[in-house]
């Protein structure tokens, strides 16, 4: 099949200086988040979290358990807000939809031959349509890195545009798999292409390869979002995934988003963490704030 690629040639392909980018990310990490701001960081981290399970061993039972956790992240604290979404494979979307009925928690599904994306476009689009038909609110796809690295930009953009069309009303998150792109400059360019192609959110990683989100990568993508917004008026979301395990790491990312894109980006419509282990660390920190005592991690729910 052939699809027309949306216009991308007018977009600026900016050089990125790695050392200065990393220095800025490091500087932002020195923000000291204390007191009320720290409590707010914990709340935002939960509210912006895609609680994720993407294992071959996933079952309906496991997904239902995760959905329960998503609605009520801390069994000891009914005030604790729910997470933003549960993220599962397409085969488990209907289970999640059922389990989350009546809640604000969205159902997200990876689709399109996740995580490599290495199958025919028809199959990938079919995967998306099926997940959407089963009730997924959000679809996480992978960008065609092979085409990107080969310089076949039209294909990269056309495929994402086709995925967007297949999503219908569902939100499209495009995973760049930053660890395979080789440089910040490539990450920034891939971000621009994914946005031009219609993505609602650009996302760092699948979590299936070693390299994933880092503060400078988050900053780099946030800067791309900012520039795309300046050019088009669109407010594209950012999702960071892979390796984010502690509340403190998360609050550094919140600082990066806040100071690069603005406070309005600290919202689940515009910012997400894709994580699983992160939730319990945030809950542990919240309990410490509430009680003044450190938590035994084995007392926390097992997802």
């Amino acid at each position: 099949m052939t699809i027309d690629a949306p216009a991308w040639r007018d977009l600026p392909r900016r050089p990125v200086d790695a050392v200065a980018l990393e220095a800025r990310a490091k500087e932002l990490a020195t923000r000291s988040i204390k007191a009320a701001s720290q409590a707010a960081a914990h709340e935002l981290t939960i509210r912006c979290m895609d609680l994720t399970t993407l294992e071959g061993s996933d079952t309906a039972g496991r997904v239902r358990g995760l959905c329960t956790r998503a609605r009520l992240p801390d069994p000891e604290d009914p005030e604790c807000p729910p997470v933003a979404a549960v993220c599962v494979y397409p085969s488990l979307v209907s289970t999640a939809v059922e389990a989350l009925a009546g809640s604000t928690v969205k159902v997200a599904s990876v689709a399109g031959a996740f995580p490599s994306g290495q199958s025919s476009l028809e199959l990938r689009l079919g995967d998306i349509r099926a997940a959407v038909a089963d009730g997924a609110d959000e679809i996480d796809i992978v960008m065609n890195r092979g085409a990107f690295l080969a310089g076949d930009t039209d294909t990269v953009v056309a495929e994402i545009a086709a995925a967007k069309a297949a999503c219908g009303a569902a939100h499209l998150k495009t995973i760049l798999e930053v660890g395979e792109l080789g440089s910040y400059e490539a990450i920034r360019w891939a971000s621009m292409l994914a946005m031009a192609a219609g993505s609602d959110v650009i996302k760092t990683s699948t979590g299936k390869i070693g390299a994933a989100a880092t503060p400078p990568i988050a900053l780099c993508m946030a800067e791309a979002i900012r520039e795309y917004g300046d050019l088009t008026g669109a407010s594209i979301g950012l999702k960071l995934a892979g390796g984010i395990r502690t509340a403190k790491q998360a609050s550094h990312y919140l600082v990066i988003v806040n100071e690069t894109l603005g406070t309005s980006w600290l919202h689940p419509d515009r910012f997400r963490f894709g994580a699983s282990g992160l939730l319990n660390d945030v809950i542990a920190q919240r309990r410490f704030r509430a009680t003044g005592r450190y938590t035994r991690f084995s007392d926390l729910p097992v997802d």
Binding site: V16, A20, T30, A40, R47, G233, S235, I236, S264, H267
Partner: protein
């Protein structure tokens, strides 16, 4: 299709988070004396004229201790003590012992880093983030780097010469990086086997005086370093002292000239690190977001109290508006306030006098027709503060484009071609530093070669390292500090027999 420009209802938690609750560094680690004497010959001595003056926390305007006001007789005593130490215990200290003492100083500084950082911010007004992450670690690094040179000096100068210490060195340092400038001066001087009379800046003596504890603990013999606090008179007495073999000065070009004249009479060797009006050139192919950060680092590091501040921003005309817009947006994010708050980006202006000068130069800039843009957040209601400021519409003949402000004030100008960028960048009597941003390698080299400055930061700005020589051309002074070449100033070369 969903709407990608939808504006979600803001979350209360987002607002709370983004306000960054105060995160003050505790000052309990610092123990201040009510009054400080002069450190001469290994003992604290009251000033000969019996006068002390208050040192003030610029963030509150309140005095925090009294500092001895040294004068000519104290300089005499300090030079005599330094001479005695040079001829005596320091001459008897082997190069390898010198090396070990310097290593120890570095270690002790690292161990007491937090104490020094808090005191630096308290006395000088700089944000704790900078004193903690830049000033103190770099000060320790300077001692560490130079420690290794102490017993390897001859290797620094090629063949056929022996490096001998110069003798008694007078060092006069500024208020913008009080501890770091003391380290820049002391470390190479001591490594090369000299003894020192150090004159700290009037408004920022405390970290130099705290350093005495470190020097003693490290085992530096009495009289090797002497510290005479005070005002310009003490500095002038030191600069003109016939018993001093070498003067090293960092400060204003005006004072530098008077020191040049004073040392002409005494024959003392001299190095000067003076003012600047450094150009920061942004080409249209620069990595823009990083270049914006570079401009921020260039002018708002340490409230712009930086001799090498990139205070003249030269932006290629084709991107000037877009770049300035981004820079202004970034400027608005700078947090001005309590220097001891870990989230403060811009601390206090060092003194009332400096605040008055900055204020005046900005008023002149406006009256000459430049357009002022400033941060809109409220400033603290006491102490000396000045908002980060950008002037656009600046012409090369405006005073704001020519005079060193030594404050958080950036003059933005434009250029059309690389040749014009160089011509404008070099159109200054100064030559301390310059910056250039472009992603074209050949253009970097072409530009760096032509910028008339002792330090050129290409795709970066305000980087410092003890291994990297620092110092100016033309009216920004002469001599280098740091690196192998920085040792030149502290040795006399003799032909090897």
């Amino acid at each position: 299709m969903n709407d990608r420009s939808a504006e979600p209802e803001p979350l209360a938690a987002a607002q709370t988070f983004a306000g960054y609750a105060p995160a003050p560094e505790s000052t309990s680690i610092v123990t201040l004396a009510d009054r400080y004497d002069l450190w001469i010959g290994g003992e604290w001595r009251p000033p000969s004229e019996g006068r002390w003056f208050p040192t003030v926390n610029p963030a509150s305007g309140e005095p925090i201790a009294e500092i001895a006001e040294g004068s000519a007789p104290d300089i005499d005593a300090a030079v005599a003590a330094a001479r005695a130490a040079f001829d005596g215990p320091w001459a008897a200290t082997s190069p390898s012992q010198r090396s070990r003492i310097l290593f120890r100083i570095a270690r002790l500084l690292q161990e007491r880093a937090r104490e020094f950082a808090v005191l630096e911010s308290l006395d000088g007004g700089k944000p704790i983030r900078e004193s903690r992450d830049v000033d103190v670690p770099l000060a320790a690094a300077h001692f560490f780097y130079h420690a290794g040179w102490a017993d390897k000096l001859d290797w620094a100068f090629g063949g056929g010469v022996h490096a001998r210490p110069v003798g008694v060195v007078g060092q006069i340092i500024p208020w913008n990086f009080p501890l770091l400038m003391a380290a820049w001066k002391l470390a190479p001087a001591l490594a090369a086997g000299n003894t020192v009379v150090l004159k700290p800046a009037e408004t920022t003596s405390l970290t130099a005086l705290l350093l005495v504890e470190v020097l003693r603990e490290a085992g530096l013999p009495a009289g090797v370093v002497n510290i005479v606090t005070g005002g310009g008179d003490a500095g002038a007495a030191l600069a003109a002292h016939p018993g001093v073999d070498k003067i090293a000065f960092t400060g204003s070009t005006e004072v530098g000239r008077s020191i040049r004249r004073a040392t002409a009479a005494t024959g003392a060797r001299l190095t000067l690190e003076l003012g600047g009006k450094s150009a920061h050139v942004i080409y249209d192919d620069a990595p823009l977001d990083q270049a914006v950060e570079g401009a921020v680092q260039g002018i708002w590091f340490n409230q712009g109290h930086v001799c090498c501040a990139g205070s003249r921003l030269l932006v290629q005309e084709s991107i000037a508006d877009a770049f300035t817009e981004r820079l202004v947006a970034r400027m608005q994010r700078l947090r001005v306030g309590d220097p001891l708050d870990k989230n403060t980006d811009i601390g206090a202006i060092n003194s009332g006098a400096q605040l008055a000068r900055i204020t005046e130069l900005c008023e002149i800039a406006e009256s000459e027709g430049a357009r002022r843009v400033q941060t809109t957040a409220a400033l603290p209601d006491r102490g000396w503060f000045f908002p980060p400021t950008i002037f656009t519409g600046v012409d090369t003949s405006h005073r704001i484009a020519v005079e060193e402000v030594f404050g958080p004030v950036l003059a933005v100008m434009t250029f059309r071609t690389p040749q014009e960028a160089i011509a404008k960048a070099n159109s200054t009597p100064y030559g301390l530093a310059a910056g250039v941003w472009t992603s074209d390698g050949a253009r970097i080299l072409w530009t760096a070669e032509r910028l008339r400055a002792g330090v050129v930061w290409a795709n970066t700005y305000n980087q410092f390292d003890p291994a990297s020589p620092f110092g100016g051309m033309r009216a920004s002074g002469f001599g280098r500090e740091g690196g192998r070449q920085g040792l030149d100033a502290y040795v006399n070369l003799e032909a090897a027999s």
